[in-house]
Amino acid sequence: MYGISRRGLLQSGVAAGVLAATGLPLRAQTRGGKLTAGLGGANTSDSWDARTHSDIFMIASCHGAVFDCLTEVAADGSLVGELAESWEASADAKTWTFNLRSGVTFHNGKSFGADDVIESLQMHVGEDSKSAAKPIVEAITEMNKLSDTQVEFVLAAGNADFPYLMSDYHIVMYPAGQIEEAIAQGIGTGLYKVETFDPGVRMTASRYADHYKGDSAGFFDEIEYIAINDNTARMNALMTGQVDTINRIDFKTESLLRANPALRIQEVTGNQHYSMPMLTDVSPYNDVNVRKALKYGINRQELVDKILLGHGAVGNDTPIGPANQYYHAEMEQLEYDPDQAKFYLQQAGLDSLDIEFSASNAAFEGAVDAGQLFQSSAAAAGININVIQEPSDGYWSNVWLNKPFCACYWSGRATEDWMFATAYEEGVPWNDSQWGSDDSARFQELLLSARAELDTDKRQEQYFEMQQILRDEGGVLIPMFANYVQAVNNRIMSPDTVGNLWQMDNARMAERWSVA
């Protein structure tokens, strides 16, 4: 059974034990009321086409409220079924059979079944597809409808994370044969039914009466998401009580929010990380000793304190974060050590090093400042960094993947394999350090074997080793993980465990929160 992760089982088991021991009653969540959220990250080009989604407003509206996926990552990080009730893999993790929930209906009354799954997945492939989930769906070679409630997927290569991939917010289920209409009007199987939708302005929805999740989720009668891209306006709206919750707190004014007794701040460290990739096929970064010198030459804690104002955690040069299943938390932390940096510089046969670091605030807020802090900390080790401020427009096309050393950010991925396959597998387009088997054949080998490994203990061992390789030799400096910080009015109750995979309780506040 793969319905629950080892870590998730442990966590929920421990939590239940603690509750039983203290005799505290679980707070019951009751139905009713309205949730008004002010969200940054909306665009006038927004639509109900999940293939195009990339920011929180539409993810929270579509994936978090109106539509459903086959599987769902719970707040504690475990994987549970959403439209799929259970799933099984063949021994090589190549063939997956999903058992679908029966009796589910779309908001227009159509019942949900295997055809909807197949057609919804097919939207992502095809020559012209610009879907962000194309690589995931392309890995499926065959989709077979075994019965109305059973679908079989045959993959090109074994992938133990396949059920996790089915929780991706791009891959939501549309009604077969009515996809065009469903995209135009927002017809899904989610907890809330669209009432009005004005792209880049506002979305309102009401609770769908016969939802299969029943009384266990979706506690509000109505939800209203208001697009507020301006930081100050968002904060004003929360302070004056016009919205119940906002995302992306401006750290500079956070103390004002904390001083307001009617509000509380939710802060979680997830997989979102700020990185500095070096092209490992370009001199001098092709020398592992130079990379090591840089790893010891950066003051990670200083960056967390000054760039994130404390709202984050130091990184260890691996993209695997606390929201991942096989996060190696005990791995020894790289610390700022100019002597070590000098030592590795000498190993590389150099007395001093002159390099250029390209940055822009398009990579992350404060990237140029981070470059300057790096410049001063590395100078102590004889590394002279020239920080080049690049224009924000076209940064991702002209600088990232092109300049040998630059600033970058990643929101992270739910699974290790997904993250590695996106940016660390040899030859993939977003491999921003040109990391390949020349650098570490072992890493690429582990990447493939861990992907198809169904035994969680063996898998953990492999992923731990991969994280170690990246820390010691990897081409990407990952100095910090940035927290997701949001604020909620005390009128609204939220469970103690808040999802850390994405902002706003994994964008599922409409599903998990309730009126206090």
Binding site: G38, N43, T44, S45, S47, W48, D49, R51, T52, S54, D128, S129, K130, A132, I179, E180, E181, I183, A184, T196, D198, G200, V201, R202, I226, A227, I228, N229, D230, T232, A233, N236, A237, M239, T240, G241, Q242, V243, P391, D393, G394, W396, S397, W400, C408, Y409, P429, W430
Partner: protein
């Protein structure tokens, strides 16, 4: 009256030429900005292939001149086109693709609503203050009114907006700081939600109109016919309202028209601060992703607003001035 008609037609013709020039300037300017729609929309996901694919789909790989004339031909048939953002993802037989006109219409009507509310507050206020300041010129009242309006026009709009939010929304919750009006909202609620942006804009435009009213009236007060009116024993208020004001109307109308145009074209900052879904926000969003059809349409609307309001001002000043109405 035929001369008036001729002037109107002449000005409308010139207006069209202006619009044409504006469209060229905007088109070139947007294209000069670094980055284009494909790069902006793909962001970090921009691979050379996907950028090339989007450029090809949208015709962005064509030379600038070709693209401009294609747009112009559409424009001549009153077709504003479809925004790049809508075109880009309209994979399903054009479903859900909204034309620029359909996108702009509700936003423009929201902006017009805000402009109307503001004008209803600002114009009477400014003219009244101007008349009173002329009447009681060089008194404490005159100086206070001048000082207040000048300081409000001298501060940046967002600053005035935040001051109003602080006093009228946070400290004394009278008006909401969020002006998220939408279709089907009752008129009274719509008015309440629009109040803070309207007051901010009022503060910004009042000074200009008030000072022009005051100056125009004071200018006339030295004229012999005003002396005459005074000698007849009329009250100062009557002298100003009945005798001076009609002759001062032309410059006042001009300034009012200019400020009304500003209410339509200059609301970008105010709309962003108050999250008001008007054309200014749409414009900012579109510039951000280099969505040229929408940017062009917005700019043409802004330019047309200026041209038409100025034309109206000129016509009204001709109508209000018999000497211009009957030129020799």
């Amino acid at each position: 009256m035929s001369s008036l008609l001729r002037i109107i037609l002449q000005r409308l013709g010139l207006g069209l030429v202006t619009l044409f020039v504006v469209s060229i300037v905007i088109f070139v300017a947007v294209n000069l900005l670094p980055g284009d729609f494909a790069e902006a929309i793909l962001g970090q996901g921009a691979t050379p292939e996907s950028v090339a694919k989007i450029r090809e789909d949208l015709g962005l790989d064509q030379p600038l001149i070709v693209r401009y004339f294609e747009w112009l031909m559409g424009m001549l048939t009153f077709d504003l086109g479809t925004s790049f953002a809508q075109l880009n993802f309209a994979n399903f037989g054009g479903a859900g693709s909204v034309t620029v006109a359909e996108q702009i219409a509700p936003r423009l009507s929201n902006t017009m609503f805000l402009a109307t509310v503001t004008a209803c507050i600002a114009v009477p206020l400014a003219v009244t203050l101007g008349i009173l300041a002329a009447l009681y010129r060089n008194t404490a009242f005159d100086k206070a009114a001048n000082m207040f309006t000048l300081s409000s026009i001298s501060s940046p709009e967002f600053f005035m907006a935040y001051i109003l939010i602080l006093f009228l929304a946070v400290l004394n919750p009278i008006f909401p700081s969020l002006s998220n009006i939408f279709d089907g909202m009752p008129f009274s609620e719509r008015l309440e939600k629009s109040m803070l942006p309207a007051l901010t804009l009022t503060l910004v435009v009042t000074a200009h109109m008030m000072r022009m009213t005051r100056a125009a009236i004071i200018n006339l007060l030295a004229s012999p016919y005003i002396e005459m009116a005074r000698l007849k024993g009329l009250s100062p208020m009557r002298v100003i309202v009945k005798h001076a004001l009609p002759n001062a109307l032309a410059p006042i109308i001009n300034v009012i028209a200019l400020n009304l145009a500003y209410l339509i074209t200059g609301v970008v900052v105010v709309e962003v601060v108050f999250v008001y879904p008007g054309i200014g926000q749409l414009f900012v969003d579109s510039v951000k992703i280099r969505d040229i059809p929408v940017v062009q349409a917005c700019c043409l609307i802004f330019a047309a607003a200026y041209i038409l309001l100025n034309l109206t001002a000129d016509i009204l000043s001709i109508v209000s001035n018999p000497r211009l109405r009957h030129p020799k």
